[in-house]
């Protein structure tokens, strides 16, 4: 095994140029250190990027905010910019785990690991975030929902590094919600996790974009919701929310039984938290 601890972005990208299929990028280690210790993952090449400061920090841009891949959940919680434009991402970071985990878990790591139970990823999907990837070949940007391609599988090429996440500015009428259902109120891996962004006018939902975790092999968007809302001439009001949520979950979720929950419970819980979130939107002044 070879380990490179990069101190600059150039060093990281040069190291990744030679990366093969059994290579891994190491950030805060909350996933990879456990995987390696248990022997479930045995990489032949590890590129440690923890000290690459160019990958840190949250900055405002003309179009919204850009969050460095190495930004930790603790840093997200303290960020004024993130609390405005990415409030549901901050909420997800707040509930992701205890202080010790928040000091290490990163936004780029959550996205790059692409666990179906990831808490930050549904928020990124619902916010319409894009991921910026860099390599010695250049830079590219791709929508997060296109980046996550399957169970712990992403579109990242072996020589690429997640540099940052770009989140569009919040529009003035947008309502947002983040819901997490676990074994305990906090500090547990999600059985179901949901993030919703919607435009609401006078009690009527005019557009909606939602994403869920732990209800498929990957984080998923809920396109049936967006399409149904877009297709209704006067938007969706409180009386349609229950039936619509059932329809959305039936059409878009593909939950399964596993150690943390059952498909039946996940279907039930997702329906309920989606309906409740939408209902709350229609009732807000």
């Amino acid at each position: 095994m070879k380990v490179v601890s990069a101190r600059t972005l150039d060093e990281a990208l040069l190291a990744l140029r030679d990366a093969g299929p059994d290579s891994r990028v190491l950030a805060g280690g909350t996933d990879l250190m456990v995987e390696m210790e248990s022997g479930r993952t045995q990489p032949d090449f590890v590129v440690d990027v923890w000290k690459v400061d160019a990958l840190r920090g949250i900055r405002a841009t003309p179009l919204g905010i850009e969050i460095g891949a190495l930004t930790t959940c603790a840093e997200l919680e303290r960020s004024a910019e993130a609390s405005v434009h990415a409030d549901i991402l901050v909420e997800a970071a707040r509930w992701v785990g205890a202080a010790q985990i928040k000091h290490r878990a990163t936004v780029g790591g959550n996205l790059g690991t692409a666990s179906p139970a990831a808490d930050l990823n549904p928020a990124l999907f619902a916010l319409g975030a894009r991921v910026k990837l860099v390599s010695l070949r250049g830079e590219r940007e791709i929508a997060v929902e296109a980046f996550v391609k399957g169970y712990r599988t992403t579109d990242r090429a072996l020589d690429e590094l997640i540099a940052s996440i770009v989140i569009p500015a919040r529009s003035p009428h947008e309502r947002r919600a983040f819901r997490k259902v676990g074994t305990r109120k906090a500090q547990s891996i999600s059985k179901v996790v949901l993030a919703v962004c919607a435009e609401v006018e006078a009690g009527s939902i005019r557009s909606a974009r939602a994403a869920a975790g732990s209800v498929a092999d990957r984080t998923i968007l809920l396109p049936t919701l967006s399409n149904a809302v877009a297709a209704s001439a006067h938007g969706v009001r409180a009386d349609r929310v229950g039936a619509l949520s059932r329809e959305v979950v039936r059409a878009d979720a593909r939950p399964r039984d596993d150690v943390r929950s059952s498909a039946e419970y996940r279907t039930f819980a997702l329906e309920r938290i989606l309906a409740r979130a939408l209902l709350d939107f229609t009732r807000l002044p």
């Binding site: 490179v4 601890s5 150039d10 456990v34 440690d48 906090a186």
Partner: protein, 165 residues
Amino acid sequence: MKAIFEGAVPITLTIKVNGTERTLRVPPLRRLLDVLREDLALTGTKEGCGEGECGACTVLVDGESQLSCLVPACQAQGADIVTVESTTLTSIQDAFLAEGGAQCGICTPGMIVTTRAWLDECERDGTSVTLEGAREALAGNLCRCTGYGKILAAVLHAAAQENAR
């Protein structure tokens, strides 16, 4: 570029542990927990679950509470580490003793170190010490004996003592 670590070839790790600078050769991905316990014989830090769930192995890394089972040696390079053996923790240890905030004792070092991090954070941010705050601050430290009542009493006791000073 300069590959700092070739192979699983050991690195020269320099860290400050409880105020003393230590230099040793270790594999780059060796857990900080093992560096402390086995290489430096600081066995106060305990391994509970070994997978980042229980908080027993909590140490301070540059003032932040982190799980030493999840920190590879290479990422601790140059860091200032505080473990339960640190003399800066004496007042908190006394509070745990006074309140009987320990049963089997495996979680205790993590509880004490996490308490230090939280009290420092409260002082830095100007937040007041409350039971609710203590519960949230120690949420990542599990006590298998479920003696949380006395542990939380010890945390508040330590906070009161420090305020009185």
